[in-house]
C-alpha cells in the first residue's frame, strides 16, 4: 500500500511517501490512520488533529470510512488552499 503525504502532513511526518503493509484488520482509511499514528512521533503529530485532515484513495477524495485494500494509493493532506 502506497501512502503519500502533502503540504503540512509531509512536513510533520518528514516524508513524502512510504510503502507500508498494515495488518489485515486495517480495512478503512480510519483504520489506516489509527495504525499509522503508532509508527512514530512525526506520524502521531500528523494525525493528531483529524479536523484538518483530508484523504484520497487512488487519487479520488475519500471519507475516513472509505474501504482500502492492498495496492491502493492513499494520500493524506490538509484542506486544499488553491492557487
Amino acid at each position: 500500500m502506497k501512502i503519500l503525504y502533502f503540504a503540512s502532513l509531509k512536513a510533520k511526518t518528514g516524508i513524502g511517501s512510504e510503502d507500508v503493509t498494515p495488518p489485515a484488520s486495517v480495512g478503512t482509511v480510519a483504520d489506516l490512520i489509527d495504525w499509522l499514528k503508532g509508527q512514530g512521533p512525526g506520524h502521531a503529530d500528523a494525525f493528531a488533529d483529524l479536523r484538518l485532515l483530508r484523504a484520497a484513495v487512488n487519487q479520488e477524495h475519500a471519507g475516513f470510512d472509505a474501504a482500502i485494500k492492498e495496492g491502493d494509493e492513499i494520500a493524506f493532506f490538509p484542506p486544499v488552499t488553491g492557487g
Partner: protein
Amino acid sequence: MAVRVQEEDFDVGLEFARFTEGRVDLGGVALFVGLVRGDGQTVSAMTLEHYPGMTERQLEAIEAEARARWKLDDALIVHRVGRMKPGDRIVLVMTGSAHRKDSLEACQFLIDWLKTKAPFWKFEEGQGGGKWVDAKESDDEAAKRWGG
C-alpha cells in the same frame, strides 16, 4: 478543451490568440488570471505543491462538469506549481461560448471549484519564516454556490 499543470509561466496574449485563432463561432471569451498578491513585506514568495496525477484528474473532471452545465465551445485551464513571487501569474481559466453568459458563468464556476477542490497547497514565505496556508471558509462558500 485542455488542462495543463506546469512550472513555467504562461503568456495570456499567446493563450488567447491560440484559443480564438481561426474561429468564428465564439461570441464571448471569459478569462480569469490569478496572481500572487503581496505587499512585499508579509509575503515575499509562495510555493504551490500539488498531487501529480490527482491534479490532472481533478482538473479534467472539473472541466467536464463545466461543459455539462454550460454551452461551452472550448475551455482551458493552466495552473502553475512551484515557487512564485508577488505579481507572478498562478492560474489561467479561459472559456469560450457563443453567448457571453455561458462563458462568464463557466469561468467563475471553474475558478471557484479550482480554489476549493483541486489538490493544491500553498506555502508562504515571509519575514518570520514560512508556513503552510490554512484553507479559508469563504472559498468553500463560493464553491457551495454551484452545489459543489
